[in-house]
Amino acid sequence: MSQKTINWYKYAAPANFYVLAGKMIPWFTAITIILFAVGLYMGFFLAPRWGGDQKESYHIIFIHVPAAWMGMFLYVLMAIYAGIGWAFNARLASMMATAISTTGAIFTFISLVTGSLWGRPAWGVWWVWDARMTSTLILLFLYIGFISLQSSIDDPRRADRAGAVLALVGLINVPIIYFSVKWWNSLHQGATITAKGYQMVPSQLAAMLILLAACWMYSIAVVLARVRYIIREREREAPWLAEAAA
């Protein structure tokens, strides 16, 4: 009996990945729209009100927490891709790191802004220099540094290597963000979900996790679109590109 196996390594070549990404984008876009619609409906209409003193402002949790997690997840992913691109001279991995950086920066910025908008009614202040917020701001600066550094170097492969060093060094900030509320006294609340359980009603948690999944699907769709444009820009001289466009 013959077994059909997929050779995944062939998708490490930009020419093959370009075509595959183009086929995947509409699917991830459709799933993103569905998950955002379901998650927002559950969060605003099905989940019960928060039992504590947060009142209606707790609705911000449904976008603040997924955005904060995405900022950290995408940074780790960006650093891994940048590291692989540097270590194995893999062009596509470096292009993926570049493509992820803008989306990661946007989610980190969203987490800071929504956190500030939640902090004003909850704590009475827009901003405090506590460990969680300061380390998240540093994460945003790391993203901006990565993007700026790559933009300032004309040779794309040199830009990839320089960005990889910065991304890998900055990786140390991610566990600092996560554990900051444990390691230091913080105005910020502790982790909503831990290994021991979660501090939410199940329907609230479900809405938040669905919106997290929506943010993941959105990120995959926009990163795939962006990496296709990066491939088109970097490989514009390649004959395969003219064939793919035809």
């Binding site: 803008t102 969203i110 929504t114 908008l117 933009s151 004309d154 926009v222 444009y229 820009e233 466009a245």
Partner: protein
């Protein structure tokens, strides 16, 4: 929203603007690339275009 509308809708509004803005920028980039592909004289050969 019990008096918290500014904060709640402000949060979702900022999110919508930023994510929507990212999609619009990507569509604009796609249009620019297609235009350059059909008109090679517009080719800028500028790798700094890769960041957004």
């Amino acid at each position: 929203m019990g008096g918290y509308g500014l904060y709640v809708w402000g949060s979702y509004g900022v999110t919508l603007i930023l994510l929507g803005g990212e999609v619009i920028m990507l569509l604009k980039r796609k249009r620019d690339l297609s235009r350059r592909a059909t008109s090679p004289q517009l080719e800028t050969r500028n790798p700094k275009l890769e960041t957004l």
